[in-house]
Amino acid sequence: MPTYLLIIPFLPLFSFVFTFLFGKRLGVQSHWLPIISVVISFCGAFYAFLQVKSGHHVNQDLYTWISSGTMSVSVGFLLDELTSVMLIVVTSISALVHIYSVGYMKGEDGYYRFFAFLSLFTFSMLMLVLGNNFLQLFFGWEAVGLSSYLLIGFYYEKVSAADAGKKAFIVNRIGDFGFILGLFLIYAAFGTLHYEPIFAHVDQIANQTFTMLGITVNLPTAIALLLFCGAIGKSAQLPLHVWLPDAMEGPTPVSALIHAATMVTAGVFLVARCNPIFSLSMTALNVITIVGSLTCLFAATIALTQTDIKRVVAYSTISQLAYMFIACGVGAYSAGVFHLFTHAYFKALLFLGCGSIILGMHHEQDVKYMGGLKKYMPITYWTFLLASLSISGVPGFAGFFSKDEILAMAFVSNVGAGKFAWFIGTLVAGMTAFYSFRLFFLIFHGQFRGTQEQKDHLKESPRVVTVPLILLAVGAVAAGNFGIPAVIGGNANWGHFLEPVLGHPHAHPSHATELILMIISVSAGAFGIFLAWKMYMKKPEMPQTIRDRVPLLYKLSLNKYFVDEIYGFSIVKPVIGFSRHIILKLIDIAIIENIVNGIPRIVGRVSGSMRKVQDGLVSHYLAYMCGGVVFIIIWMYVGA
């Protein structure tokens, strides 16, 4: 096993162990080891990328993890095109977030704990993308979930934070329920959990069926949909999206790293990695496309009305992840991974920008109390603007290239739901531009609406915060350059690079189609920006008028369609009620315990009444004896 590949995940692991054990003593210096490790990991990742580019792949086992009977799974690493891209994304964003956190988390209790958990997350995420088999993927999958749990609940004394961490873990477990059954089915079908033999023989399951409880389903469809359950949980798609907005309880750097750029994209990575399986099932592809489209629209409509800046960005993340699933659903996996790549930079930038604003505003997150921050926070302002332009799909920025690729692929795809996805995607492109610039104008332009005290303390964040912003802004602008489509003079390097892993999409749009689609989506984005400008800059009374005109829609969006309330009412409360009243009080106590304690009680009662016979009075005994004698005599006569 090449040493550089071992260093990439295990250095952050070492950093976690060391910082967690000894960080308390290191105090404010405890960030050094995590930062240095992740920077070295980044260098390793870059080297790995170069290796892959020059044709060196790695697929090697470290040791046999579990072996039982004919089942054997290893811990092993796979380095190919897809892995190398993920390594770059994870380590680069992680390194920048580590550095940013030095400024953001300054003076917090548990400073060392924060950095230790960041390292743990980095390790887990790297194990997830590096694994050469499904079980190691699952290891990383659960371990990132753990890191996420710990970091969301970083301010554990706050009930809402502790609740949010728990919710994230449990909702993810619901997705994992499907995921692990998918693994079992894969094992049943292939007799192994390692990628290479599975993908090499995937064609053999093409027309197989699987029967359970009398229901027969197409085997690839069953496997694909079960795996997709896991992806729905981890990537916060409908109906398991509820944990991600709550996860904003975590410190903002965590939101940027885990809940925007890396961990939540693991679901997309899973689908992309298993593309040979998904491609076998048109049903599964349609389901993914539809779930993606619905989530895309659903989350974007919520983002329109939220006032907590982190929540807006969180819903935006759900919506953007949905774009990636649309791409996978229409068979354009490399477009999905491309959007994963560009999104990582502009979304991390948006979140870290929010963090900078929150620092400046002394932990105020409500946009109602902001406004006019432009002159106080120029660097934050400009970088935030670049990120907003990128997410809105303004031509030339990273988001433009990846989003347009997805929309074009959806339009021409042979997957039934493709056109539907294209329509929703284009609509949401407009909404995305609108809510992004709504946020932008409300934060940075107009009058300051906070308190005088807040105003007096407004200032730009320190350099340790702004430098990562600037570096990410470079990514948010330029990350698209790797995949400029041929129609506007590029050479679509991205797709070619990933082709060995992700294959080739079935259908390609003609240049004319692509150009027309591009114009449509750019116009949608432009209209969104224009509308935001009109509503929040030009005519500030307009939002209220609209609210009054459609109060029902507004309420639905503002309250996130009441999904949390519905789940609480239809699942959580009934289960706990069932547990308390039916299982515990009725079955366990009233029935089982009564039977158990009832038998001794009956025996006791019988013996108690028997005991009364032996009362120690000779006269009674004499009477019993006489009675007995009489009884025997009568019996003998009758018997005779």
């Binding site: 554990y156 004394e157 292939f190 290479e196 090499a200 289960v575």
Partner: protein, 519 residues
Amino acid sequence: MSFSILSLLIFLPVLGGLCLLGVSRENEKNVKVLALIISLLEFVFTLPLWFGFDKTTHHMQFVERHSWISLFNIEYYLGLDGISILFVMLSALVTILCVLVSWNSIQTKVKEFFIALLLLEGAMIGVFCALDFFLFYIFWEAMLIPMFLLIGVWGGPNRIYAATKFFLFTLVGSLLMLVGIITLYIKGGNTFDILALAAMDFPLSLQLILFWGFFAAFAVKVPMWPVHTWLPDAHTEAPAAGSVVLAAILIKMGAYGFLRFSMPILPDATTAMMMPMLVLSLIGIVYGGVICLAQTDLKRLIAYSSVSHMGFVTLGIFALNTQSVEGGILQMINHGVVTGALFLGIGMVYERTHTRKISDYGGLATNMPVFASFFLLFTLASVGLPGTNGFIGEFLILLGSFMTRPWVALVASSGLIIGAWYMLWLYQRIFFNPVNSKWNKIKELELREIVAFMPMVILIFWIGLFPNTMLDFMHVSVAHLLEQVTGNPEGVASGVQLAVTNSLEAAGHGVQHVPQISH
């Protein structure tokens, strides 16, 4: 064998307990130190088992065999195989931790407490080593007495009820087993030799009767639903050490009984009763998990979670294939380690707070960060996070049962969601949320307590990352067991009917994965 190591292991703690009798009652410190030395020594003597065990044979090892009551062919017959060896080691380890956790928490009748603990250890190891049914029964019942005393004398306020309930439940079960043992003795040609009985063929009708007789004894011990209600009471009232032994070793005896007696001696009944046993296990998993959501008492919650976790164990055992049975045995060890550790932790915190009510806690992580970290690890191992031992066991059990009956794995997997729910909720209510000002001055763990945790921490990661070091002990014995039960060393035929599996295996891809380096 010239050197009888198993006898040594059984009688060292018994003799040690007798030695304690001689120590003066006033000198409590000496009693504790001596008990600690004996338990440490005992563990050291189990090490030759680990290193001397031959993993390539299913035959009994370290065998000792002497005629005892020759009139009835009763023998003093001891031996270990890949199924029992790990439990002997675990028993010795857990006893050390019990001594450590009882150091300060036992205030009255200190000497008697440690004597009872050591006698219990001897009897437990005896149960795992016995190969003569009569001898087994003696150890099995001998275990009851010290455990009864541990709960009844050093337990909580409601200890008499709990101890009596525990005693009656197990006794009723054992008596039915005794009837079964005597029946086997008569029908099997006057022998109590377990291995000889396993080699015999009994008619199915007889097997079925005996199966349910044994079931009565073993299911109560496991405990399987619906005979589980003694466990929460016993756990709640038992002192910390009692809970630890109960969770870690005692309730494993039930599952061990299935493996050692029901399955090899009554193979036809086992396969015939597979479905009922799987269904009972599933009920245990879901029922035990859901009921945890209603618990307000710390110890009761963990006790009910044991019902759920032991449901996984019996599920694995009765799914009757290699992965599930090996997973089941490993999960017995895992549950012993993790739940043992959880009860250790609860004992430590109870010593400080004297309350078991979950709502009395809150924000403990602030004042006891070290304890919170340990407890988090145990919680995660309990919910089966990959990298910890809990995952390996659950994964193998679920994978194995999926291969036998996919829908069984489907239902059982829901236990993973419920498990995460109640454990993380519990963790939140104790360690997170606003700090309860009552515990502002609570003491962080002391060195003795950290030392007591360390073996569990090591085992959690060791088994989680290198499970083969444990599984290697089992492979041959489990294959032999499955061959006895189903006629096939890999267990029952797969319930997943997929044509492709065969074609892949024929091509040589299904079984072996050969990674390759391309450049």
